[in-house]
Amino acid sequence: MTHVYLLYLLGCVVSLLLYKQNKIAAKVGFSISAIASGYGIFYFLMNLSGTDSFSLGENLLYNPTFSLDPLGNFFSFVVTLIAFASSVYAIQYTEEYEKKGSLAVMAALFNSFILAMLLVLSASDVFWFMICWELMTIISAFLICYNDSKASLKAIMIYLGIAHFGGMCIMAAFLLMANQSGSLEFSSFSSVSLSPVMGSIIFLLAFIGFGSKAGMFPFHVWLPKAHPAAPTNVSALMSGVMIKVALFGIIKFCLWLPVMEWWGLLIIVIGALSSLLGVLYALIQHDYKSLLAYHSVENIGIILLGLGTGVYGIAINSPTLATIGFLAGLYHIVNHAIFKGLLFLGAGSVLHATHTREIEVLGGLAKKMPYTAFAMFIGVMGIAALPPLNGFVSEWFTYQGMMQGALGEGIIPRFVFTFSVVALAVTGVLVVIHLKLYAIIFAGTPRDMKIWNAAKEVPFTMIAGMMFLVAGCFVFGIGASVVTENIMSVVTSFSGSYNAIPATGQIASPIGSTISLPIVAMVISGAMTLPFIIAVMMKANRTKPRETDPWACGFKYSKRMQITAGPFTGDLRRLMEWLFKSKPTVETDGYFGPVKYTDHPKDIWWNIFYQPIINATEKAADKIGCLQNGSTNMYSAYILGTLCLFLGISYIL
């Protein structure tokens, strides 16, 4: 593992040394991170169920150790997997940023961002965990700065604000934990005995702290602002893996603490809410990158459903339930990383070619960018969990885990689990509507000819990065039994075990449902060939079709007649009016003039949760402001007063 870390460090240093040769620095820097990631993928995969550690030098105050257990190896694997694709992608993509900032610095930051994430996963004491955690946040914030605009600055402030709050909660959870165990080393945490109240407080702090970074509801507001603002290769990493690192923290805490039933149920309820609300808000976005960011909220919800099942399984002492829950959660973590990474890279390619993030002006790009179109098609299929791609397998496991939970005794758990199953099913239906993400951008008639004419397919490495993840979608779907076997070796290191692979190619749940993805794939591909056979046997007229304009009821066809992203979800928006609080306006100008229709659905949680806090803070700042009166004497008086106060406190204690 030190080799992998050193390679990233090397990438960081080398690209900084090449500061003067901007273009070369980017090429070299991103190539090194690609090599490091490629090496990392193999390394972490080979040592998945092993443990490894190294210590920094003795003279660093104390002797900090970084160690990886199987869980850490798994998350490191996910990080390097997506890092590889986005590094390859970045080699040519970043040329676009040549004028906006130093590419050398960007490559260095990119390398260190990955390194920081890997170090968070391997830190084994509170001090280094927090240092790396904050580094990860800060570096990603710097990377967002590359898209310099007012909106992105605001996004960074919101991101940092929530990250700050989350960091505070995590810090508090760690310190309480360390206080109880008497040491800052993680190794001492596992044996700590806590009172139920103390345990619950620590859990809630950690859950809120890590959850805010993961983007679960109601802390999701920063994702759709910060992720689209970043350069694409960074968005892919942020949305694909950074939010997963936070989930790593939640899992860690749940394994240390004496788990209680309601924690698991709470995680499941939050997960169900995140997935439903995430997808509903995603549906109404017109900016395709923030649409994808809302999707991350949804997928974090699905992952939380799995992890919550696992936590609940630990609490009720049911090892098989815990195992299927964690298996589902971890499987969806890697799957979401793959297809979300793919979709962000695809979205970045569209942005690269069209220079707009507004979905409504695109259209017909599949003819100009066939490879990107194919990649996005597979990505949307993956996120919609269509068999035999990867998303389906992990959702299947999630369903199975929740069903097993619903089989247990007790009315409340049964209700929670069954409702979450239904919520996940509804989420599944709503995600399919995201076909519009593909269809509006790539299909139909171009809505703006100027953009369409200027668009062209992206350069080679960008396509290569996407195709790597497209392959991932297939491999992690059809090769489900191999992947399950590997993830099981991780899960059994901290949880129970069951026979997840009864025979070659099959995967099973503890309650006995068994499917075989190769057979599903075979059935689907076999069925797809059937119509071709029929067409041949019936001697269908296969002459080349005439190409015309679409039929428009006898009127002359105009590109403004076709449906756009807004109306495609119009019925849904009207159905969910209470959630979006949009006030559509319609302006007509005679019979022949175009009708102007505006509609701005809102994320109502911003006004419910955040606006009051912001207002209160501003008000409080106004009031406190009078303390800062510019007089040095007063400031000395403050210091004196504080000293006296602390003396008094220490005397009383």
């Binding site: 069954t418 239906v429 076909l435 269809a439 059935v523 076999g526 002459t543 190409e547 495609f568």
Partner: protein, 307 residues
Amino acid sequence: MSSIFFMILQVIVIVLVAPFFDGVARVLRARLQSRKGPPDFLQTYRDIIKLFKRSRTIPKCSHWVFRYGPYTLFGTGAALLAVMPITYGSGTLASYASDVFVILYISAMLRYIFGIASIDSGNPFAGVGGSREQMIAVFVEPVMMTSLLVVMLLAQTSNLAEIQEMVRNGEIGYQMPAFAVASISFLWAMYVESGRNPYDLAEAEQELQEGVLGEYCGADFGLAHAGLILKQFAMIGMFLSIFEPWSFENPFLALFLFILKAGIFYVAAVFIDNFGPRYKLLTSFRSNAIAAFCVSFVALVLYVVGV
């Protein structure tokens, strides 16, 4: 391996027979509407054969999703039929694809292709039709999932072949109140999914529902049309597999009986779809869906409290 053979057999036989029942339904519908209608039950075959001979026109803006749309629509319909455990039982190779979630997500694939093809055609009506199709799923899916969830929890498995055998052997069944109530709501979901009036109108090609078909012609149209008939058969098949699974042991006889039963359901639906106007999506359709969801919710509550 024999199960794979039977799987292929059942798809091919149903593909061959399904247009016949469509023909029967059309004759019956015409009689109920005091029209003369097609001369015999074979009209759908003649239509499809005629369509296969015609040349085609396609919108020039479309790309491969639209152009291969009919093939993929037909393919997903056939895949749905293939995973119905009609001629094969649990434990066989083929039954490892016969999972409730596989079925739900393959039908999602059909909607996915349908939606993209509808937007890709560039046709104003097609897009609205594609959007409507998604909304119908939003209404139906909670009902369907809740009913199926009750069945799956009672059976403690999601494998359709196993569920079917349990119902056959009487391990679960109508003696359980939750199962009985779930059958009602699932019947509603199945009816809506099979695309009939008052929820949809499969025949109204120029109308909104099947707007996507408006831009297809010739062999493309024939295939897409046949694919939708297959999907309807598959949806009926799903209901039959769970709630009316009694059949012969012999696979050939089982297949024969299945086609007969599914055909009766397919034709009998004419008696419902012939009366009453089509529902508006956000008014009458929605209140219908809420009622059906309430029924499925009752089934769920019955399971949760352990009746």
